[in-house]
Each structure stands twice: as C-alpha cells, then as structure tokens.
Amino acid sequence: MNDLDDLAQSVVGRARAGEGMEVYVTRGTDTEVRAYDGEVESLTSADSSGVGIRVLVGGPGGAGSQVGFAWSGSLDPDVIAATLDDARDNARFATPDPHVVLAEPDGVPAAQLDLWDDGVAATPMEKKVALALDLERATRAADPRVRQVSSADYSDSRVEVALASTTGISSFRRRTNAFLSVDAIAGDGADTQTGSGFSIGRAPGDLVPDEAMDDAVARATRMLGAQKAQSAHCTVVFDPRVVSTLLGVVASALSGEAVVKGRSLFAGRIGESVAVGGVTLVDDPTDSRAYGAASHDGEGLACRRNVLISEGVLRMFVFDTVSARRAGTASTGSAVRGGFAGTPSAGCRALVLAPGARGHDEIVAAVGDGLYVQSITGVHSGVNPVSGDFSVGAEGLKIEGGVLSQPVREVTVASTLQRMLQSVVEIGGDLRWLPGVAAGQTLAIADMALSGD
C-alpha cells in the first residue's frame, strides 16, 4: 500500500450504510520542452493531481439503483469532502436503473507489467532540453529543402492511479511515458509541404531522435510537387500511422456500450463474417509493448486479451461493468476513463491486427497501381462509426508499376467501414507500436473512391 492507495481507501471508508462508492485518485508530473530556432521556446514542468468519485444510492444493483459523479483537480482533504458531497447529491437525480453497479473483483489475475521507468525522473532537465534542441537543429540540417521546423518537442509524464471501492476493488497502477516529436516544413520555390515524426518510449533513454527526424523530413520532402489526382476507384495502401487511426474508429464501434445502445454498425452481428478471412483483430493491453498497455482497467479489474474479430468473424465486443450487465454478460476488463474527470465506459486500449508476412515495399509492388496514403485529415468529421460512412482528406503518393511515384494532395478517399473491412487486400508484417489505442502496419484496401479533379 502506498499513500495514494491509503487515500482512496480512506475516502471509500466514508461510504454510508447501503451506499456504493468508487474512488479514483491520481497524481502526475509532466515536463514539456519546445525548441524553436535554436532556443527553448517554452518549458513547462508541473505536478497535478485529482480525484473522481462515484456514489451509488438507492440499493446498488436493485431496482432503485442510482449513480452520481463528481471530480476535482485537487487532493486537498476539504476539496475531496466537497467532491464526495457533490457526487452523493448528484446520485439522487439519476434515473433508477438496476444495471447500475460497481465492478466486483472477478478473480482474473492482473498481468505483471513494468510500465514505469525511473529514467524519467532521473534524467536531468538539461538533458531533456538538449533532446529537443538537438532534434530541432538536426532536422533543419537534414535536407536543404527543409526550410522551417515549426516545433520540436520533448515531453514526458509520470502518472500514478489508485482505485478503491466498497465492492472490494483495490488497484494501483503507474506508468511513465516519454516522447519526441518534430514538425518539418519543406519548400521548393512556391511549393510548401509538411511532415511530422515522433519517437515514443517509457523514458528518455528509449527515444530515437533520428527516427522522428527521418520520418518528418521524408514525409515533407517527398510531397514536394504534389498535385491533385483524377477521381477514380482504386486500391489504397495506408501507412501504419493512418491504420492506427482507422483502427481507433473501428474500436468505437466495437464498444459494448455503443452496441447495447444501438449505436454501432456491428450491433447484432456476432458470429457473422464482417471482414475478409485474413482479418484477426485483438485488443491486448497486457502486451507491455503497446502504448495503451495497462494492468488494470478503469474500474480496477485486470485487463485481458480479447479477440474481437477472428479470421473475419465478429467474436465479441468489449464491455465495462454496466454495459456488460445491460447486455447480460460480464465485463471484459475494458473500462476506460478520461482521467479523474471522466467516468468509466467500454473501450479498447491496445488493438492489433494480426500481422501478415510482407512489408511496405512488397505490398506496394503487389498492388501495382493505386494510391499510397501517408496521412489523412478530417477523421472526426468524415468517419461515422454508427453509419459506417467513411470520407477523409488524404495525401500521399501514386503507386504506378508497383512503385511509389508522383505525390498527390488535396484529394479524398471514401468508402464505408463495412465495405473496407470486406475489401482488405493485404495486412503488412511491419507492425509498429504507436501512440493511441491501436498499433499500426501497412494495410491495402481495394475499391476506394478517390475524389480529386
């Protein structure tokens, strides 16, 4: 037990008879360094903490069960007391609902994950500053066509979370993260193009500045001379970073909560073929290589490996405790929450498509003619996980004769998520662990509508 655990338990101890209570307390330290033009543009260093409290009244799990929530960005005892009062008062106004319960320990052991690296705290600030400055300088020098580096950032965080409840939940987890990222602007005459790159790890020592720099410079410079393309239907090869984003959208449709509320394109399709046979999609937060790796979920249950789509067949959805109860099943250890100010909901943390055998170059060669998309825009405005409608802005390079050729910009690629899953041509073996809820690899999808001139 540490002090954060003790605090969570002590607040839970204030639950009244018959009341359910869950207390989430967190504490963290963040550092952020931004370099620009050889100088430190800004440096932020700060500690923060917060508490989120759910109170259940009216007989938790019974016909009169009601829940209320309150949060505060402080662990001050008086503030916690006021937050508890707020949550308790809020509970009185919820519609009574027998599905409203807190998670109970389910006996699934938590994976032993080492997501904490003392290197974040041990690395002197000067070294963190140097990482950002060096990355900025190196990116400017990497290619004569790089005419600006709009930002080069180093950031890290240390986060500890303790969760306790009147139902016997008691979990503690902690993690560190370190990032390097850079945005390069390449120019050639009046032509301007941009590219970004990053490197992630648990501590500064894991970061590979050249990886961030090379990616940013290559992405910006190879787009120089880009033009619109003719509208056409073609095969699109998506970059691993784009695929990670796309899987994040698919993830929201695999949420059991979206399913039980009739807001998922996958609702009612368990056991059906929703994708081509080569598609196996797994959410596995117990793999410590995943960015979203976690020992415990947002309700303190052990995270576990869930196979969502197996060889094209939809097998299951991810559930938190309440959505599982609504669906007549058990939590899959998939509660996610947006920090202390958020309440649990069902979601994926670490999606991975079962990788294929070949890499980017071989897939491009096999596709022969089509479009390679290195980045997309407008995901939040153009991809709808309810209807499945899919339309995003895209930039990349034409694929001609099995190799990348002319750069293309200001086009859109469109389809529906349903059709895209059934049109997967090949899944790359070039798996990359990326920030977000999904890993990424090269992915080729046939019959996308390319809209340009």
């Binding site: 932020t44 086009v411 509508a449």
Partner: protein, 485 residues
C-alpha cells in the same frame, strides 16, 4: 490551509466552496505583487500569474435514462516567466502564497540568463467589465435542468418511429479568472457558459444514420427562455431521418452552396487558423507576408470578434487579461491583419488583439480565434440556390481540420442535398469536402443576407477552447467533395 484561497472572501471549508465564484479576489493584490517579483528574481522580461476557479456541471440522458450527473471543480494558477525568446511555465493547485511562490520559482528556473536583481512590481487598477444579467448555473435546481433533457428526448422520439436512440446532454460552467503581470496589468473575468446538445440515431432499410444539433452560449440558464429544447431535438432528429433515404455523395469538384449558419467552419479552417500570428511568425502559414494582398474574393470580409455578447467565443478579457476586439482580418478580399497574443505581438512591437487564450490554468496561452465570421452580403439565399444549375447544398457542417502551412483543409457535411436545375433535391450521405484555403476563398461568388453564428470547440496543440463561427448563405464555384458516387 493549502489549496485554499487567501482572498478577502476568506473562502475556507467546503461549505463555502460553492460561493467561491463570487466577488472575492482569487488572490490578494499584495500577494500577486510579491509573487511576480519572486518570479523575476533571477531575471526575465515579463512574469504573469493566471489564476482560475472553475466549476462545471453536466448531465446526460441516454437510452431514455438520466445516466449520470457530474460536477467538477478545478482551481489553480499558471505562472509564466518570459525571458528573451524563452518562456518558463509552471502551474499549481495551491493558491496560497507559498504555493504560488514555488510555482513562480519553477517557472523562473529557465529564465536564468539574466543576473539577479531586485525588481518590484506594482499592479495597476483592476480592469472590471460589465456583464448583463445572468442566471448562474449553480442557482438553478438540478431537477429543472433534467426536465429539459426529458423534454428533448420526447421531442426527438416523437419526430419519427425510425428514431431508435436519443442522447441528450447539457452542461454549464462558471470560470472565474484573474490575471496579473509584471507590466502592471490586473484584470479579471467571470465567464458563465451553458450548452445543450442532442444526438439521434435513425434506423432504416439502408442502415443507421445520425443527426446532431447543439445550442451553446456564453450565458446562464436564461438561454432556455429564448430557445426551446424541443426545437433543438427536432432538428437533430430530422437530420438523422432525412439521411435514411440519402444517396452516396458525388465525388470530384462541384459547386457548393453553404447555408447561412451551417457551421461557418469553412472560414475557421480555410483561413482562420492560418491568420493566427504564432503560425505567421514561424513562417508556417500560407498567409505569411501577404498583408495588403488580395487573398479572397472581394465578397469576403472576415472578422474575428470576441466582443459579440453571449456568443460561444465571447469573454470580457482574454486569458492574458486583454479585452477582446472586433478585428477585421480580410476586407473586401484583401488581407488586413492577423490575430495576436501578447508574446507574438511583442515580437512585432505591437499590441495584442485580444486573442490570447488557454484551456485552463494548466496551459500556456497561445493565439486563438474567438467568434470568426464572414460579413453578410446582399443576395437572397433562395436566389443563390435558384441560380445554381447543379451542385451540392450543405445545410449543416460538422468539424474540419487544416494544415496551416499548405492551406489544405477539410470540413465535413452532416446534412447535404443535391442541387439539380436550381432546386434542392435528394439528401446525401455524410462526406468531407477538401480544398486549399486561398483557392477556395477566391471561388466565393455569392454571399447572402441570412447571417448566423454557431458554436464549436476548437482544438489546437492539445488545447480546446469554445469558439463561434458565422456566415450567411454563400456559394463556392468549385470544391472537391469526397463522396463515393
């Protein structure tokens, strides 16, 4: 007591917490002066304390149930020290003088170039700004707020049997800010915001479709005296229902008519972000160095205006203590100015335009839009449609995104129709439109009189702030629509 206000109001103990957002100063003047002096002990050009006390409440009705009421409180201060080109920043939830001084020293630790010297800071008079009568959210009974949710749910479901799911959310916030800097500035604001939104799912033979509508104002609960939640719900439901019979949107370049108040996101993305001085001074905008040039059709006069009372991007002072202004950015197609915060204005030896904003005390301010709108034109909106032989009519836009360096931007439709023979015909499924800012702005050939402003949330560099977007019905002669047909 740590984490507590040392203000004259003597706020202490949770019983008083709800009244913390009253007239008591968040931090006393003499404390501010000492903390600012501490921040500059080791040198530096400017120090600033941004204190914030925010309370928020939200409620969600989903699947016919009020699922959860949520209340939140956040209170703290962000301190920055600017020394040359470098900004040091630290924040704390501890508003005691000890906590503030510790944050000041942390922020100053990067300002180490200058030699130690004593510098006293004297703050000027507090700039206070009048506000209209507002009904503070915490004075409204929770049950009254919930009744609005139920009424909206019923109205949406009554719109059609095909409506299978309704989600209604409402939220309000009160954010009191106090800003003091070593130049003597002392300002405060008390911002009350209220929002209401409805999301519907309609289910038909062709699958599911969604519809969304929202109301959001920098006002209190009184917004519901002038706006019926049933109307908001019906608009969201109608949007989902009409799309059940929608055909796939066309692909390729098409003339587009945007309805008045359809979202205004076009200008926010096509040029708004590109006119933010932080992008300009880094030469990371397609509009850098183009003041005085024709960058848009002569029909385009674009304004960013934080003074528009009650709009979602309205405030009495920005998050650097500067009052908002009505800033003309493009006049009759000619680029006239950019938007500025303190830091970027200083670089150019000018004043901030009142566009320095931040998400919370835990964030550094940067250049942000407020309410950005195109001035209305002279044409009849129906005439514009009638004079469009073929194209797409966009009744409602969703979000968008822009690459400021290239000017390429996208924005999504959430309600759109084909225009055939000058008439609005079939509904279209959702799609993104893509274009290049300067190119699309030149292609605006008609602007109508039916001006309206709509609320939105703008994300930039990881920070979200409320903004307004406005425009009248207008036509773009050609923009690429990302459909499948």
């Amino acid at each position: 007591m740590p984490g507590r206000c040392a203000g004259r109001g003597g706020v202490s103990g949770h019983d008083d917490y709800d009244t913390a957002v009253t007239d008591a100063a968040l931090i006393d003047r003499d404390v501010l002066e000492r903390v600012l002096s501490t921040a500059l002990e080791g040198g530096g050009d400017m120090a600033e304390v941004f204190a914030e006390d925010a309370v928020s409440a939200s409620a969600m009705l989903d699947d016919r149930r009020v699922e959860e009421l949520s209340s939140g409180r956040s209170r703290g201060a962000g301190i920055r020290v600017v020394d040359g080109e470098t900004t040091g920043f630290a924040h704390t939830a501890d508003l005691s003088e000890t906590g503030l001084a510790a944050a000041a020293r942390a922020a100053a630790s990067v300002a180490r170039q200058g030699g130690a010297r004593v510098r006293t800071v004297a703050l000027g008079p507090l700039s206070a700004h009048g506000r209209g009568e507002r009904t503070p959210p915490d004075s409204v009974d929770k049950a009254r707020k919930l009744e609005l949710l139920t009424r909206a749910d019923e109205a949406a479901r009554a719109a059609g049997d095909a409506i299978t799911q309704v989600q209604v959310g409402c939220g309000d916030s009160r954010r009191r800010v106090l800003i003091a800097n070593s130049e003597g500035l002392l300002a405060q604001d008390d911002q009350i915001r209220t929002r209401f939104n409805v999301a519907c799912v309609a289910n038909g033979d062709t699958g599911m479709q969604t519809g969304y509508e929202s109301l959001a104002r920098t006002e209190g609960f009184e917004i519901f005296e002038r706006n019926r939640v049933e109307d908001i719900a019906q608009r969201a439901a109608a949007r989902a229902l009409v799309k059940l019979s929608a055909r796939p949107a066309p692909s390729g370049e098409v003339p587009v008519v945007l309805a008045g108040g359809s979202g205004g996101i076009l200008f926010h993305e096509a040029c708004g972000h590109g006119l933010e001085a932080d992008h300009i001074v880094k030469d990371a905008s397609v509009y850098t160095g183009r003041v005085g040039e024709l960058v848009a059709s002569p029909l385009v006069t674009l304004v960013d205006d934080g003074t528009l009372l009650g709009e979602w991007g309205n405030f009495a002072v920005d998050d650097e203590g500067c009052p908002p202004a009505r800033n003309v950015l493009i006049e009759n197609g000619v680029l006239t100015d950019y938007m500025w915060d303190w830091l970027r204005a200083r670089k150019e030896g000018r004043k901030s335009s009142g566009n320095g904003r931040r998400q919370s005390y835990q964030h550094l301010p940067m250049v942000r839009m407020t309410n950005t709108y195109l001035l209305a034109g002279t044409e009849d909106p129906d005439e514009i449609i009638a004079q469009t032989p073929s194209g797409v009519y966009v009744k409602k836009l969703g979000g968008g995104q822009v690459n400021t360096a290239t000017g390429d931007f996208v924005f999504g439709t959430t309600e759109a129709y084909l225009i055939e023979g000058g008439r609005i015909t079939e509904p279209l499924r959702d799609a993104n439109l893509i274009g290049n800012g300067p190119e699309v702005l030149r292609r605006i050939d008609a602007v109508a009189t039916d001006f309206d402003v709509t609320p939105g949330t703008c994300g930039k560099d990881g920070q979200s702030v409320p903004v307004g977007c406005g425009q009248a019905t207008l036509r773009i002669t050609g923009v690429t629509l990302g459909g499948t047909a």
